[in-house]
Amino acid sequence: MNLGRRILTSKSFATLALSFSLLSEAALAQEEFSVFRSDRINALITVTLFSAAVLLYTRWAKQGKPLFLRKIAGLDAVEEAVGRATEMGRPVLYIPGIDDLDQIDTIAGISILGRVAQITAQYETPLMVPVRYPLVLAAGQELVEQAYILAGKKEQYDRDTVRYVAGEQFSFTATVSGYMMRERPATNIYMGAFFAESLLLAETGNAAGSIQIAGTARPEQLPFFIAACDYTLMGEELYAASAYLSHEPIMMGGLKGQDLMKIIIIVLIIMGVVLASFGWGESGTVFKSWFQAV
């Protein structure tokens, strides 16, 4: 797993950089060779600002400054939903998306799985985690085992809790849908990257009478989850979920840094609207090229 962790960390670097790669879209091609990509300086400045904001709030959190976080109903419902499964004597189904571990959505889904597995271990509720990629399988198995150890229930850990079911999208969907109708899990949790199968899974879970909590950062799949699930985490809430469930001030500091960045972007959007409305900031100005890149 050490190798897997190293890959994850290196992928995180890539994701961080690529998250800001949109900033460089409007840049011109370089004609002369230079060591640094001058067209990506705007991305560098944004990354630096963002990192500074996150580190600042994390530092404040370490010093014990109180940080307010709004309630996320979907996450508050997780423990209640697992409790319901325990009372009914039925399993909890957790799907960490259907993408590979090099996607940040999957990493977020896997992180939340750790928290959910701790709760299921405490309640001694059966957990089923179907996955579509072997790397997710390896990471998920490690994570769930650690969660059971932390909960002091190592002997109850079943290695096949996290299982590889199929490599193809609709083969995976068929397998999981069949499981839902046969086993009728009391709680279905979908957290991660979902595509066309989102509604197939959520509607099947709804038909099976399960309480459903979903979270995805893909806007095109959100309406399906909202229509078919009891709670839905939208966009950034998915990435915040792990920190939110941890109740650790240090991790919450990262979320506050993110909020500061959001305020800066909102101010930039308002400035852009004002400039565009008054006819300023037409082609060629620094603000417009920067703003379009953002």
Partner: protein, 204 residues
């Protein structure tokens, strides 16, 4: 990789680092496929051994894995039925069995959309009524007969629906979610890089 992102790809030693690392990832990812195969075979074999409900289907699962995997791994020089080219066993099973089954699964989505829409579009509150009206207008606009009907009225109604609903309210909300999600992804990446977030490794 972050540093390499800001450097020219032609910079000696460091410029191409990220591409090299990504190549390594692909190679390692290929080997991990074995983990998945072992997992699916073990779970299925246990179900057969314990005669769990539906165990005959597990025999079909194991047989399918073997039928797809073994002939595709054997060299084509032994027989044209081996390998993954046209005319091979792998190709025949994929084209005639797997692809139609996946297409069937995808096709059922239409029925699921209908049932979800029926539930979502019930006009129980003012917001739900607004959603119902908007969805009706957009669906009407998206089907040819609806567009033909809208064109009977003066003014370019389809153009206004596209401009104000799809490229106006809808796009604005989507962009808001995308910006928030991009920041959330970047914040999570930072937490992982800095070692603040370690839950993906099973640490609290």
């Amino acid at each position: 990789m972050t540093v390499a992102f800001f450097l020219n790809e032609k910079t000696p030693y460091v410029g191409d680092t990220s591409n090299v690392l990504l190549d390594w990832l692909i190679i390692i990812g290929g080997f991990t496929l074995l983990l998945g195969v072992v997992s699916i075979l073990r779970v299925s074999a246990q179900a057969i051994q314990r005669k769990k409900e539906g165990w005959p289907f597990k025999i079909a699962t194991i047989a399918s894995v073997l039928v797809m995997a073994i002939p595709s791994l054997l060299p084509v020089s032994w027989s044209p039925l081996f390998g993954r080219f046209e005319g091979s066993i792998y190709d025949w099973v994929f084209v005639n069995l797997q692809a139609p089954m996946m297409a069937t699964m995808f096709a059922t989505l239409a029925f699921y959309i209908a049932s979800a829409a029926f539930r979502a579009f019930r006009a129980r509150t003012a917001e739900a009524t607004l959603l119902l009206l908007t969805a009706t207008i957009v669906m009407f606009w998206r089907v040819p007969i609806g567009e033909a009907f809208l064109n009977l009225f003066p003014g370019d109604l389809p153009y206004f629906i596209n401009k104000f609903i799809m490229n106006g309210a809808n796009l604005a909300v989507q962009r808001g979610i995308i910006i928030g999600a991009a920041l959330g992804a970047a914040a999570l990446s930072l937490r992982i890089i800095l070692g603040i977030e370690r839950t993906y490794m099973g640490r609290g």
